[in-house]
């Protein structure tokens, strides 16, 4: 196509025909020019589509098609062992979600794990960013160190955490024993297991959020702090009245991103499961929606049910997104 472009270019400068030996008759040259010009027009018209097509083709193949196929599959009873053998069941896969206690249990877990992991994570990130914002020796080292967990693979981190949280030989229980607390069964108790799963998430994402806050803090003009100091504001008041308001858009961004992340939690609870399946603990105490979807689809091989769960999750996420944007619009209006 690029070579076409070279031959097609001259007409734009007024045509190549005059430069040619006059032997050829004018009509021939005219036809040639018209052809070239047509080509050029076609090129101008269609090339841009060709240039952007790779994205759209990939999106069609790996984004839109699965989305639609999942929607179609969710209206059928389909097993993974025979994906082409579909039986139409209408909305049955959706209506049964209403009284599927495992689904709602997973939804509750997703919410509580989301809160236990996101709130402390963002608060800690803010504190760490504030400290790093002071002039420190070796600040680059601290920044890199903070980002290190983010660069670790979820699988590797989760497996290490499973050992740390072990009931009989785990390091955390060993430390607790030293201060006189009995062994905690981190994998089997409801809140303990949710806390343990959340701690993996917190460990992994705090540094990432802290860096985002730090970048935003460094963009706050210094003279704001100076004038606040002149007015006799303490450090704390400076933080509350200068830093926080300036960070509002950034905080909003991290809240949205963390909410999305929290609703998709999957790897940590999957690998924290002492069983080989994806039931999220022996009483499903830390099974998230993502994990339940995986269990239905890949372990139990119920493609139709899993698809319906996926679409329901999608709808729930849209609702959460709407609430999020509503709140943020309110916040923006009030500021």
């Amino acid at each position: 196509m690029t070579s076409r472009h070279d031959t097609a270019a001259p007409p734009a400068k007024g045509g190549a025909a005059p430069g040619r030996p006059p032997a050829g008759d004018a009509a021939e040259a005219e036809r040639k020019r018209a052809r070239l010009s047509r080509r050029w027009q076609r090129d101008m018209r269609w090339s841009p589509y060709a240039f952007i097509s790779p994205f759209f083709l990939l999106f069609l193949a790996f984004g839109l098609f699965p989305l639609i196929y999942t929607g179609w599959a969710s209206l059928h009873t389909v097993e993974l062992t025979a994906p082409t053998d579909m039986t139409w069941v209408g909305l049955r896969n959706y209506t049964r979600i209403f009284d599927d206690e495992f689904f709602w249990n997973a939804a509750r877990n997703t919410l509580t794990i989301g809160i236990i992991s996101t709130v402390p994570q963002l608060l800690m990130a803010m504190g760490i960013a504030h400290i790093l914002n002071y002039k420190l020796r070796g600040s680059t080292f601290y920044r890199v160190a903070m980002l290190a967990p983010y660069a670790t693979s979820i699988a590797a981190a989760s497996l290490v955490f499973v050992l740390l949280f072990g009931r009989d030989y785990g390091m955390i229980n060993w430390v607790l024993n030293l201060v006189g607390i009995d062994n905690v069964d981190w994998q089997n108790e409801h809140w303990a297991s949710q806390f343990a799963v959340s701690s993996i998430i917190i460990w992994r994402w705090t540094g990432y959020n802290a860096l985002i806050y730090l970048a935003a803090m460094q963009a706050i003009p210094q003279d704001l702090y100076e004038s606040a100091a002149l007015d006799g504001a303490s450090r704390w008041r400076q933080f509350v009245h200068v830093t926080l308001p300036s960070l509002r858009p950034t905080i909003l961004f991290t809240v949205v991103v963390s909410t999305i992340g929290a609703s998709q939690v999957f790897g940590e609870p999957l690998l924290f499961d002492a069983n080989k399946g994806a039931s999220g603990g022996s009483q499903h105490q830390f099974q998230t929606l993502g994990l339940y979807l995986y269990e239905q689809g890949w372990i139990n091989q119920h493609l139709g049910r899993a698809s319906a769960i996926a679409w329901t999750m999608f709808l729930i996420l849209i609702v959460i997104g709407l609430v999020n944007s509503l709140i943020s619009r309110r916040l923006r209006a009030s500021s």
Binding site: T81, N275, S282
Partner: protein, 440 residues
């Protein structure tokens, strides 16, 4: 001038990057086609046969490929091993349903064989019609497991897992139980309830330091494996809830769990592994391959402290089949290789190297089996013990969703009793989980 040069340099870089990425992509897409093209006979003119395996099947380690290649100079064997069956099997199902990406020979684990027989049998060749294959060379139940209702056999058995009970001689002695394997076997001959009674005796003598058995899941699995009917009846109906044998196995395990005779552990988890290396339990239901696992997790000083006793009732735990997908390019050659790999001689060699117990009784009289010893069990004649167990394994009714039900009863069931729940609550949790998982 300089700016211009860096710009060209950058352009060149971008171009190079794009070209290499594109080439990579093309190569990635073309990979499939290339491979199948080549396998028609590579540059040396040999026929390439590929095996898709999981875990440590050990054909290569036992030198069987080299031996076969020597016998058949025109064949070249390649294997593609995925470590865990949990990862291997979903991919295999995908390849079977789409009929693409299958290798010439695919391994199937016993836990999945019923599902493959029921849903994917049409994709495999009938091995009973392959040259030189005689059904009576295998244990009958092993042969039946891979055979469809219409009589097509989709895979030949490699190994099986005849189950015995491994016990620690030193811990038994301390607890005041007999240590001779004959006497230990007599303690519980014929009745799993007696095994639990022996556990009660053990607990009185040994105290709290160690447990009688490794895990509730291990005990439940052992009992269920020795039953002819577990989760399905002969017509293929799910009956786990109404089968008295299942409920009895569950209740007996729950009783052992309530009395603290089993550890509150899940098998093959890191914490369970640690109880092996710390010598925390005295017995474990054990097929031959378990000895290898114990060895890999034990401290060196545990060698020779174990012994093997006959189980209350014989059962099978584990085993694999080799099947030949019809879509392969070299079905005939692949069938011949499978028949050779699963012949008694080769199974015996595999047992000597890998500890995978033969599924062909013809191998039981061979010196590799009769003379077998294991480092963990000292001079115990394990070959004879396991061969004896193998000959009394019942023909079990298996079904496609056995694993879901067994896992539900174990990981959402009996384990809860060790954590303080009542047997009734645990049963209800298990049933609720299983029913939800079975519902299509």
């Amino acid at each position: 001038m300089r700016a211009a040069r860096t710009r060209t340099a950058r352009k060149a870089m971008v171009l190079a990057a794009v070209v290499s990425l594109g080439a990579g992509l093309l190569a990635g897409c073309a990979d499939d086609g290339d491979d199948s093209g080549k396998s028609g006979g590579d540059s040396s003119g040999k026929t390439k046969i590929s095996l898709g395996l999981f875990g440590a099947m050990g054909f290569k380690e036992a030198g069987l490929y080299t031996e076969y290649e020597k016998l058949h100079p025109d064949i070249k064997i390649e294997e593609n091993v995925i470590e865990r069956n949990e990862n291997y099997y979903p991919a295999l199902v995908n390849h079977l349903t789409t009929n693409s990406g299958l290798l010439d020979i695919q391994a199937i684990e016993v836990g999945n064989i019923a599902e493959v027989v029921e849903t994917q049998a049409a994709k495999f060749t009938d091995m009973s019609k392959a040259e030189g294959v005689k059904p009576d060379a295998w244990l009958d139940w092993k042969w039946q497991q891979a055979t469809t209702k219409d009589g097509a056999t989709i895979g030949l058995g490699t190994d099986i897992g005849p189950m015995a009970v491994c016990y620690r001689k030193d811990l038994f002695e301390k607890a005041g139980l007999p240590t001779d394997r004959e006497e230990v076997g007599k303690l519980w001959a014929g009745d799993w309830g007696k095994l639990v009674e022996a556990g009660e005796k053990y607990k009185k003598g040994a105290g709290k330091e160690t447990s009688f058995m490794d895990s509730p899941g291990g005990l439940l699995n052992a009992i269920l494996s020795s039953e002819e009917q577990r989760f399905y009846d002969t017509s293929g109906k799910v009956v786990y809830k109404d089968n008295p044998a299942v409920k009895a196995a569950f209740d007996l395990t729950a009783k052992a769990a309530k009395e603290g005779l089993v550890q509150s552990q899940t098998q093959f988890q890191p914490a369970w592994d640690q109880t092996i290396s710390n010598n925390k339990f005295a017995t474990v239901a054990c097929p031959p391959w378990m000895l290898g696992y114990l060895k890999s997790k034990s401290q060196p000083d545990a060698a020779g402290k174990w012994d093997v006793a006959a189980p209350p009732k014989a059962g099978n735990w584990g085993g694999t089949f080799l099947g030949v997908p019809k879509s392969g390019k070299h079905v005939k050659e692949a069938e011949a290789l499978v028949a050779w790999l699963t012949a008694p001689e080769q199974q015996a060699k595999l047992f000597a190297v890998q500890g995978s117990f033969p599924s062909a009784p013809g191998a039981y009289g061979m010196s590799q089996v009769t003379g077998a010893k294991n480092e963990m069990t000292g001079d115990a004649p394990i070959g004879e013990i396991f061969a004896k167990a193998a000959s009394s394994i019942p023909t079990q009714v298996i079904g496609p969703k056995d694993q879901i039900m067994q896992q539900g009863l174990t990981d959402n069931g009996v384990i809860l009793v060790t954590q303080g729940k009542s047997a009734k609550d645990a049963w209800e949790t298990a049933v609720k989980t299983i029913d939800n998982n079975l519902e299509k």
